[in-house]
Amino acid sequence: MSHTSHTEAHGAGAAHADSHPPQSFFHKYLWSTDHKVIAMQYLFTGMAMALVGAFMAYVFRMQLAFPGMSVPGFGVVSPGEYNAMITNHGSIMIFWVAMPVLIAGFGNYLIPLMCGCDDMVFPRVNRLSYQLFFLSVLVLIASLFVQGGGFGGAWTAYPPLSSVAKYNLTPWGSLLWIIAVALEFVAFLLGGINFITTAMNSRAPGMKAFDVPIVVWMIVVASLLFMASVGPLIAGAVMLIFDQTLHTGFFDPARGGDPVLWQHLFWFFGHPEVYVVLLPAMGIVAEIMTVFARKKLFAYRMVIYSVIATGVLSFFVWAHHQFIAGIDPRMANIFTVTTLLISIPIAELCFVYIATLYGGSIRLTTPMLWALAFVAEFLIGGVTGIYLGASGADIFFHDTYFVVAHFHYTFFPIAIIAVFAGITFWFPKMFGRYMNETWGKVHFWGTIIPFNLIFIPMFLLGMAGEHRRIYDYTHFPDLALPELQAMRILATVALLVMLAFQLVFLVNFVLSLMRGARASKNPWNANTLEWTAESPPPHGNWAELPNCYRGPYEYSVPGRELDYWPQDEKA
């Protein structure tokens, strides 16, 4: 970058600061187009929904461990309520927690700050995206309180259960549920278009494609995956709504339809969706690992190529959810092979992270603990996925608690562990204060240990043949054995302990927000551009927009006095 253009950038920066005057409370927090405010709206809405989803998990786990008891804070759980709880727990945790927090929350916060621009390229579209998302939250919450109760056909909403009121007995709940999901998809399509175009067109002068931090790459690839996979399900949602309300027969074999068609439309989206939320989580972990290992990210370009390979492969694995749905066994062979193939790039990412740690000067801060735990726990999720991806084994494991445990060993690291890693890491930037490290570590161990005690018993229960969609196991003598019931009680007690420890986080979060030690611009001595803005960054992010001179991971460069080298520091 020549000296002249640098000065020009400064001149542009001065004019740019004027274009963001102070705003009233209403404009700043409720009607804002500032990407950071929208990020916070997504983050806090997602965290609030996580509490709703967690409450549901508490209620149905209590029913499973102590069938028929009056659950404190809820009462006796009826079969219909049990179904509504498991369905909405799944929907909420994926669509209203993982998606808004990981993609929309961190994406909105990090993309402009890490690319070195003042805001998203379409700030008003961004605001509209959150407003639609918020509307979808209201519709979903409303669906729990209408006549007949919330939808109870599981989060995958297979017809005919989801499409025929006579079967699901929740005509309003199921309709509002699918409307809420469709609205949410539109919100994230708008957000995704913003993320991709911003990362493509608004990078700091000098920032080439391979100077972009991994987490931004990951969020952009995730947005692309979402955009390219959700379409068929949007069409499917329209068809399902018509089946429910106009009584068409898209998914009714008696009238020329096909219920398996929904499964194809759902999983064509549903499986890439796993990677849509996984990739931002892996990006967050990559950022944290290089900062706290004080080492360059191992094989930066290889990570990007692996992510792209994962994205492409993720479109060819969906039918592994349908091995027992009556698909052609020859097709099952193909999907077994593709499913096992996709574990290669993901395993490679895990190896890259381990190689990044090797020989680094590791600092075990709270965010680093979460990042390390992510790799360890996700590995268990990944390895058990091999059993389920192989059609022969899946025929036995299908719809057992083995699947539930596997799924949670992938999604819990994604939606909870990586999110806590990200929040504790960027907290000083977001709010200008440090979080308390001691209480952060207490919360970490209080979450990780009970998490394993919840889901390891479920692997064992699944292998013992426990089917996942049963309300009361005492009705099934083969599954009501005392040793199986003891494991169910263990899982439930561990859940109670884990939920109790979340209070530590909430208190730490609120107290640090008010009274934490003031953080400087760059508390972790990190390289990426967001650490060159004020903490917290003002509307417009920088008084003068930064230039970029190097890649994001120049840590411990030989011959340099400091062990970090910010991207905006002139050579």
């Binding site: 995704g192 390219a228 068409t248 439309l265």
Partner: protein
């Protein structure tokens, strides 16, 4: 890659639209191939009205191109007039379609009559919804272009309009010609 941001976003919108229509049409095709009897239902669609609408829509895309050309030359008012002509084409399309559907529903072919009619009304309805949205956006773009403002939007709305056109080029043979 120096694509202007607005146009880039339109292309990404189209990517997501392609998979929406792609999913719907793939579902229709898979079912159509396994249901030989749907051909008897399809025989009741009016190919001539469909052909007329195809012609109307294609012509309206021509005026969208001419509007883009005028905008490139900086002639906002002319671009706006041509956009209004395109809106007129879209309106003609929708009016013809509503008469066509009224006739079909009176004949007893409703969305619940059979699988074919369910797909027919859903796919064509989703397309008509896109035509309507395009018209509303185009009126908005035309009103700013008339004041010589935001002329780059003329091209962007044109790209979207061509896409809506191309979707119809797929729908017309699949729903009207295949009998």
């Amino acid at each position: 890659m120096n694509i202007p941001t607005g146009r880039l976003a339109v292309w990404w919108v189209l990517v997501s639209e392609i998979v929406i229509f792609g999913g719907l049409l793939a579902s229709y095709l898979m079912n159509r191939l396994t249901h030989a009897d749907w051909a008897d239902q399809a025989a009741h669609t009016n190919t001539w009205i469909g052909a007329f609408n195809t012609l109307v829509l294609l012509t309206s895309s021509l005026s969208a191109v001419l509007a883009h050309q005028a905008a490139e030359k900086g002639d906002g008012p002319k671009a706006a007039r041509l956009l209004w002509l395109t809106v007129l084409g879209g309106a003609t399309f929708l009016v013809v379609k509503s008469f066509e559907w009224t006739h079909e529903i009176r004949e007893g072919f409703t969305i619940t009559s059979s699988g074919f009619w369910s797909y027919y009304y859903t796919a064509a309805g989703l397309h008509a919804f896109h035509v309507l949205c395009g018209m509303i956006l185009m009126i908005w773009v035309a009103s700013t272009a008339a004041k010589n403002q935001e002329l780059h939007r003329v091209e962007n709305i044109g790209i979207y309009w061509h896409f809506v056109d191309i979707v119809w080029i797929f729908l017309f043979p699949l729903l009207y010609i295949a009998k």
